[in-house]
Amino acid sequence: MKQKTISVGKLTKYIKSIFDNDVILRNVLVEGEISNFKLHSSGHAYFSLKDNEGRINCVMFKNVADTVGELKDGDNVILQGNVSVYEKNGQYQLYVKRCQIQGVGDLYAQFEKLKEELSDLGWFDEKNKKSLPKMPVMIGIVTSPTGAAIRDLISVITRRFKNIQIQIYPASVQGDKAPGEISKGIQVFNTMAEVDLIIIGRGGGSIEELWAFNERIVAGAIHDSKIPVISAVGHETDFTISDFVADLRAPTPSAAGEIAVPSLDEIMNRLSYFEDKLTKNIDNKLNVCSQKIKNLKSAYFFANPEMFFIQHAQTLDVLRNTIVNQMRSNLQYKLSKITEKKSRLEGLDPSNVLKRGFAAIRNEEGMYITDLNEIEINAQVDIVFVDGVAKSKIIGKEANYEKKHI
């Protein structure tokens, strides 16, 4: 029997027409988990929908993808669309027209609602954020004691700063108990008041697994904490309410470790840099001072001390001359005064008067008589001449003789 051959293209078209004409395949609702999600730069999304029993390739064009929230592997979704064949590779796939994220959609809405509410309360405001200690002495960590997060945190922190003290408050980080335990941990650290920094967090996971960090009770505990809080939840791309309320968001737990403590080596370097600076500074000061002293030493006075004495000696000489001259002129003045007085005194010498022909009368007691009343009739008197004495006797007195005869 000779059968007619047809081209691959025609066969594919035929198969495609069967899919396209099938009542069920033309409009299906199918539920499953997204995997291998790829968002092409064109905006179209390609992924598989799977469950325990099967898998189907899906394509969601940009116009649909834009109306759906962010999708990622692990999301549980209900897709509506038609199943058809992509002729180029001969594969059948679901062309998604609508997509509803199961559960997560509700969570997303909750997240947005709480975020808006807390934002309105000012809980995310930068001005309310506490600054982290540069050098925490003791760090409190609220996380699961068995998770990857605690291992990463301890290893990063102790690698950077081996002498740090860490206290762990073990808390579930997913499930119903998690929000209560995480917020309790934050409160306990605040009550004990021993740590100076709190890190809360966990490793990566689905939005449901990270959900505890989107709960209001956790946000409240962070907001009420007097001690600065770092939130380190999941991966770089995961954002939680905790991250927004916390004083600092670390992209991952390891990053939180890097942010929380400085490297001991860096600190030691910084300290020796300080020491260096101090020493250099004081050295500089000393140099400046010794230069000043040098300058002073070379100053005129210290360089030529004898000049100082010469000058003073000169001054003394001048003073001495002045004194001597002054003394001399004083003496001369006095001498001239004395000479003058002497010649005046000489003018008063009685012998000079006697020489001119006058005589003086002296009574018996040797006193010179100047008044007629001092003398009695018959008194013995001496008449004193310049060259001798004449012994005489008063024989009579007559007043006012002088007026008549001289």
Partner: protein, 75 residues
Amino acid sequence: MKKNTFEDNVKRVEEIIKHMESNQIPLNESFKYFEEGIKLIKSCETELESTQGKVLKLLDRDGEITKVPFEGEES
């Protein structure tokens, strides 16, 4: 919170350096600052070296907290 003397000390050293660099202070005062700075640096270093790093786990039994060493736990 434990008093963080270390951070205060480092801050003080920074102040001292700034002061010594920016101000015309007499030599004898410079020596005082220098001495204080070096003393603080040494005490910071001693503090760093003497602190014993340790990791503790808090056990919360109805609000009663006890501390036990944390050795790492398997999940």
